[in-house]
């Protein structure tokens, strides 16, 4: 069994961090949709898509070496960053329901990673 290099973990961590900002941008851009569907093309949505592209580039760098069982669950760290930004930037309530749901999803992604060797 090969071990996972620290550099791979770092790339995936960076990827999840950048991706969470992409999600924040999409949320900001989604408010413009109240004016009509074609307002979906706006600066925030474009920035969100760009951040997702950059994030996926770091992800590919990260998963070239190392074990998916370690790296896959690290991607879902992005969900935790996003939870944090949602509270900080949009004042969303962090309920027990959200923590339990997210916890199970993280556990599930960890299992899928274990099975993807």
């Amino acid at each position: 069994m090969t071990s996972t290099p620290i550099s791979s973990m770092l790339w995936v961590l960076v990827s999840s961090f950048i991706g969470s900002f992409g999600a924040v941008m999409l949320k900001m851009g989604s408010a413009k949709l109240h004016k009509g569907f074609w307002h979906i093309i706006n600066v925030h949505v474009a920035a969100g898509v760009a951040l997702f592209l950059v994030s996926s580039w770091f992800f590919v760098l990260g998963i070239r070496h190392g074990e998916l069982s370690v790296l896959y669950p690290m991607v879902s760290l992005g969900y935790m960053w996003t939870l944090f930004w949602s509270r900080l930037m949009f004042g969303e309530a962090l309920t027990r329901q959200k923590f339990v749901g997210l916890g199970l999803i993280l556990l599930g992604v960890f299992f899928v990673g274990l099975g993807s060797q």
């Binding site: 999409l26 851009g29 949505v45 997702f52 969303e92 309920t95 329901q97 997210l102 299992f111």
Partner: protein, 133 residues
């Protein structure tokens, strides 16, 4: 368009107002998984990794288009719901990718993957439940 939506929301009440964004994200994850399958099959049949080859490959183009569509659905869903609620639901993509890889590429499914899929589905189910007041 926005006026139509407002009228609908008033008509159908709060349950559907909560479920509509979840349904949109659900479709978003199905399209996202389909996009990954097209990208994977496109990459498998790519003669060489040049830019022209990547732009002119039909499966890759379909994959990118599906990704675009899936992002549009996510933005539409985010308009009416909390980011902290919707974003983790995207993990359903793992479920569809595992199922589709099994059906199309005959990738092996093992107990770990099955347990993972089941746990993700339960987690999403909990997020989708109406919170107790």
């Amino acid at each position: 368009m926005s006026t139509v939506t407002t009228t609908q929301d008033q008509d159908v009440g709060s349950t559907t107002a909560r479920q509509r964004p979840l349904l949109l994200v659900f479709c978003c994850t199905v399209l996202g998984a389909a996009a990954q399958i097209f990208l994977k099959s496109g990459a498998n049949h790519l003669p060489h990794a040049g830019l022209i080859a990547m732009i002119t490959s039909l499966p890759l183009m379909v994959g990118y288009a599906l990704y675009g569509l899936s992002t549009a659905l996510l933005v539409m869903a985010l308009r009416d719901a909390e980011l902290s609620l919707l974003y983790p639901v995207i993990a359903l993509t793992y479920v569809w990718v595992t199922v589709l890889s099994f059906l199309i590429f005959h990738d092996r499914v093992n107990p770990f993957k099955l347990a993972g899929i089941a746990t993700i589905v339960i987690g999403v189910g909990i997020l989708g439940k109406e919170p107790k007041k």
